[in-house]
C-alpha cells in the first residue's frame, strides 16, 4: 500500500502564555510506493518518531498534526477516530524502538500477538491460536513461549514478539521505528534481516526509521534524511552512503562507517 505524506506538520499545542505553540515537524514530504522499502534517517530528536506517530494518527493528546497523510486512499490527518483505528493494525503495522517497553507486562506472548487479530477479524479461538503459532514460527520464536510473559524473554525475543504482533494481520504498510536500537549488534542484524524478509514475503511496503546508516543499508533501497523537523536530503541509500551532500547526512554516514562499515564495506 502506498503512503504519501505531503507537507506534514506537528506542533505542540500552546499551554498558556509561558508555553506557546512549538513546531516539531515542518513541512515533511515523503512517499513510500507499493512494496518499496524506504528509510527515514536523522539524528536523535530530529522528529522521526513524531512523523511515524503522525502517520498512524497516534500523536500524544497535546500534539496536533497538519498537512496530508494518504494511506492508500484514506486521509489519516483529521480522520474520524474509528476509521483511523480500523486502519491501524489491519492495513498498517508498527514496531517501536524499545521492545522491553512495547509489550504489556501482564499479557502473555500469545495474547500480545493475538491482539491485532482479535481487534480486526472475526476468528474463533482455534483460528487465532493457529495464526499466532504460525506467526511465532515465522519470527523464529519457540512455540512454548506462547504462554510466557515479557519479563521472561530476552531483548531479542521481545522484539520478535513485537514484530510478530505487528505483522500478524499481514498489513500492507509496516512502520518500524528504530526496531533494533536497544539490541546488540549481532541480534540487531538478525532482526533487521528477519523483518526485511517477512516484509518482502508479504509484498508490503516498509518505512524504516533509524539513525544508523549501517542498518539502513541492509533494510532499504531509498531514504530520506531528516534534521530539526525537516527533510534535508533524499536519494538511493547506496548513493547517499557514497555521495552525501548535506552535512547531517555526512556525519551520520561517517558515524556508521567508523562504527561498523569499516571504510564503506560491510564487516
Amino acid at each position: 500500500m502506498s503512503l504519501i505524506v505531503h507537507d506534514l506538520t506537528v506542533d505542540v499545542a500552546a499551554r498558556g502564555r509561558r508555553a506557546p505553540a512549538r513546531p516539531i515537524v515542518r513541512g515533511v514530504d515523503l512517499r513510500v510506493d507499493d512494496g518499496e522499502r524506504v528509510g527515514l534517517v536523522g539524528p536523535s530528536g530530529s522528529g522521526k518518531s513524531m512523523v511515524s506517530r503522525a502517520i498512524l494518527g497516534i500523536l500524544p493528546p497535546h500534539l496536533t498534526a497538519g498537512g496530508s497523510v494518504l494511506l492508500g486512499d484514506t486521509q489519516m490527518i483529521g480522520a474520524d477516530e474509528n476509521i483511523a483505528a480500523s486502519m491501524r493494525g489491519s492495513y498498517t503495522g508498527a514496531v517501536f524502538q524499545n521492545p522491553a517497553a512495547a509489550l504489556n507486562p501482564v499479557r502473555t506472548v500469545g495474547q500480545s500477538i493475538a491482539l491485532p487479530l482479535r481487534l480486526h477479524y472475526e476468528l474463533d479461538r482455534d483460528e487465532i491460536r493457529e495464526r499466532v503459532l504460525r506467526q511465532m514460527r515465522a519470527v523464529e520464536l519457540p512455540e512454548r513461549l506462547e504462554s510466557a510473559y515479557p519479563h521472561e524473554l530476552s531483548g531479542g525475543q521481545r522484539q520478535r514478539v513485537a514484530i510478530a504482533a505487528a505483522l500478524v494481520t499481514s498489513p500492507r504498510l509496516i512502520i518500524a521505528d528504530e526496531p533494533t536500537t536497544a539490541l546488540d549488534a549481532v541480534v540487531q542484524r538478525r532482526i533487521v534481516d528477519l523483518l526485511v524478509s517477512l516484509v518482502d514475503d508479504l509484498g508490503s511496503s516498509l518505512l524504516f526509521i533509524t539513525h544508523d546508516f549501517a542498518v539502513l543499508k541492509r533494510a532499504t533501497t531509498r531514504c530520506y534524511v531528516m534534521e530539526a523537523g525537516r527533510i534535508v536530503e533524499e536519494g538511493a541509500t547506496e548513493a547517499l552512503l557514497h555521495d552525501a551532500r548535506h552535512a547531517v547526512t555526512q556525519s551520520l554516514v561517517e558515524a556508521a562507517t567508523a562504527l561498523s562499515l569499516r571504510g564503506g564495506e560491510e564487516a
Binding site: 499551554r15 498512524l56 493528546p61 497535546h62 486512499d73 477516530e81 474509528n82 483505528a85 480500523s86 486502519m87 493494525g89 489491519s90 503495522g93 508498527a94 517501536f96 524502538q97 524499545n98 517497553a101 512495547a102 509489550l103 504489556n104 507486562p105 501482564v106 491482539l115 482479535r118 481487534l119 480486526h120 477479524y121 472475526e122 476468528l123 474463533d124 479461538r125 487465532i128 495464526r131 504460525r134 514460527r137 515465522a138 523464529e140 512454548r144 513461549l145 506462547e146 504462554s147 510466557a148 510473559y149 530476552s154 531479542g156 525475543q157 504482533a165 505487528a166 494481520t169 499481514s170 500492507r172 549481532v186 538478525r190 534481516d193 528477519l194 524478509s197 517477512l198 514475503d201 508479504l202
Partner: protein
C-alpha cells in the same frame, strides 16, 4: 491495497473461555490459602459470609425477643454472649448484623470501584486528561480529599436521614477520591507507556486502552485500596451509627450492638468485647486480604498464574534459559528457519 473491498470489522474481543477465568480464580484462591495471612482472611471472611446467610433463616433467639428482666445478662447457656441493655440476645443481633455489615461493605466497595475508575478516567483519559484539564482535576481531588468524611456524612444525612445510604455515600466519596490519588501515577504511567502506544498502533480504541491496559496496571493497587476501604467502611459504620447518623435504631449491625453496649460501658465493660472483637477480626482480615491478593493475583509476581495447565507444571527457569540460548545460537550461527510457509499469509477478512 488488496483488501480494499472488504474492510475489516471492528469486533469486540472474543469472549474469553470461562475455563481460563475459572482456572485463574482457582489458582489465586489456592495461592491465598497457602499464605498465613491469606488463609486467615479467607477463613474469617468465609465465616462472615456463612453466618450472614444462616442469620437469614435462623438466629438463636428471635431478634425482637427482649425482656427487661434479662437486660445486661452475663454470658450463659441461653445467651452465649449475654444480652444488651434492652435484653436482646447479643449473639443473635451480631449474627444478623453481619448481614447488614455485608451490605454496607459490598455497596461501598462497588461504588468506590466505579467512582474511582471514573475519576481515574478523568485524570488519564485521552480526551479528558490532556494537560491542563488533568492538572485542574487533580487539584480538585486534593481539595476534596481534605473534606472530613464525618462532615460529608452529616451533610448527606440531612436529606437522607439515618440510613445505610449515608454511610455508603460518605465512604464512597472519601475512598474513591483517595483511590484516584493513589493510583493516578501508575495509571498515568500505563496510559503513556509504549505498550499502550503499540496497542494504539494495532487499532485499539480509547475505551479499550483504558479497560485493557490501564485498569490491569492499577488492579493490584486497586485491590489493596478496595480492601482497605472495605475494612474502613466497617469502622465508619460503627462510628457513624454511634453518632446516630448511620444504621437506624431498630436495624441490627455490629456498630449498632457496639453503640448499645457502650451505653453502660463503665458498669458492664465486658459486653462491648464481643462486637469490638468481631469488628477487629473482620477489619484485620479485609486488610490482610488486600495485601495477599495483590501478590497472588499479579501474574508477574505469582509464578503459578503463569503456568500453562498441568502438563507444563514443571516448566522451570532452566527450560526458559534453554529456549533463550537456542534462539541465541541460531542468531550466532546465522542459520534460519524458512521465514514463512508457502501458503497465503492473508487472514480471512471477515
Amino acid at each position: 491495497m488488496t483488501g480494499n473491498t472488504t474492510s475489516p470489522s471492528n469486533r469486540g474481543f472474543a469472549p474469553r473461555a470461562p475455563r481460563g477465568r475459572l482456572r485463574g480464580a482457582r489458582i489465586v484462591l489456592s495461592s491465598l490459602w497457602h499464605r498465613a495471612d491469606g488463609a486467615y482472611a479467607l477463613v474469617v471472611i468465609g465465616l462472615w459470609l456463612a453466618v450472614s446467610l444462616v442469620s437469614l433463616v435462623w438466629t438463636p433467639h428471635p431478634l425482637l425477643e427482649a425482656s427487661g428482666r434479662n437486660a445486661w445478662a452475663a454470658p450463659s447457656a441461653a445467651h452465649p454472649m449475654g444480652t444488651d441493655g434492652a435484653g436482646h440476645d447479643l449473639l443473635s443481633w451480631l449474627m444478623r448484623g453481619s448481614l447488614t455489615e455485608l451490605e454496607v461493605v459490598v455497596l461501598v466497595v462497588l461504588c468506590t470501584a466505579v467512582f474511582g475508575l471514573l475519576g481515574i478516567w478523568a485524570s488519564v483519559g485521552r480526551r479528558a486528561g490532556a494537560g491542563r484539564g488533568s492538572r485542574a482535576w487533580m487539584v480538585c481531588v486534593d481539595t476534596l480529599i481534605a473534606v472530613p468524611t464525618v462532615l460529608v456524612a452529616m451533610l448527606v444525612s440531612v436529606p437522607l436521614g439515618t440510613s445505610i445510604a449515608v454511610i455508603v455515600v460518605a465512604c464512597t466519596f472519601a475512598y474513591s477520591l483517595s483511590i484516584v490519588r493513589v493510583t493516578r501515577p501508575v495509571a498515568q504511567l500505563a496510559a503513556t507507556s509504549q505498550y499502550v502506544e503499540a496497542a494504539r498502533s494495532y487499532g485499539v480504541g480509547e475505551a479499550r486502552v483504558f479497560f485493557g491496559h490501564v485498569v490491569p496496571a492499577i488492579a493490584p493497587t486497586m485491590a489493596v485500596q478496595l480492601s482497605l476501604s472495605a475494612g474502613t467502611a466497617i469502622l465508619a459504620e460503627s462510628g457513624l451509627t454511634y453518632l446516630g447518623i448511620g444504621i437506624p435504631a431498630g436495624v441490627p449491625s455490629w456498630g449498632r450492638s457496639l453503640a448499645n453496649c457502650a451505653k453502660l460501658i463503665s458498669v458492664y465493660p465486658l459486653t462491648v468485647i464481643w462486637p469490638g472483637l468481631i469488628i477487629t477480626m473482620v477489619v484485620v482480615a479485609l486488610n490482610l486480604l488486600g495485601d495477599a491478593l495483590r501478590d497472588c493475583a499479579d501474574p508477574v509476581v505469582n509464578a503459578d498464574l503463569r503456568r500453562d495447565g498441568a502438563a507444563d507444571d514443571d516448566r522451570s527457569a532452566s527450560d526458559m534459559a534453554a529456549a533463550e540460548s537456542s534462539t541465541r545460537e541460531q542468531e550466532l550461527t546465522g542459520e534460519r528457519m524458512p521465514a514463512q510457509e508457502g501458503e497465503s499469509h492473508e487472514p480471512h477478512r471477515a
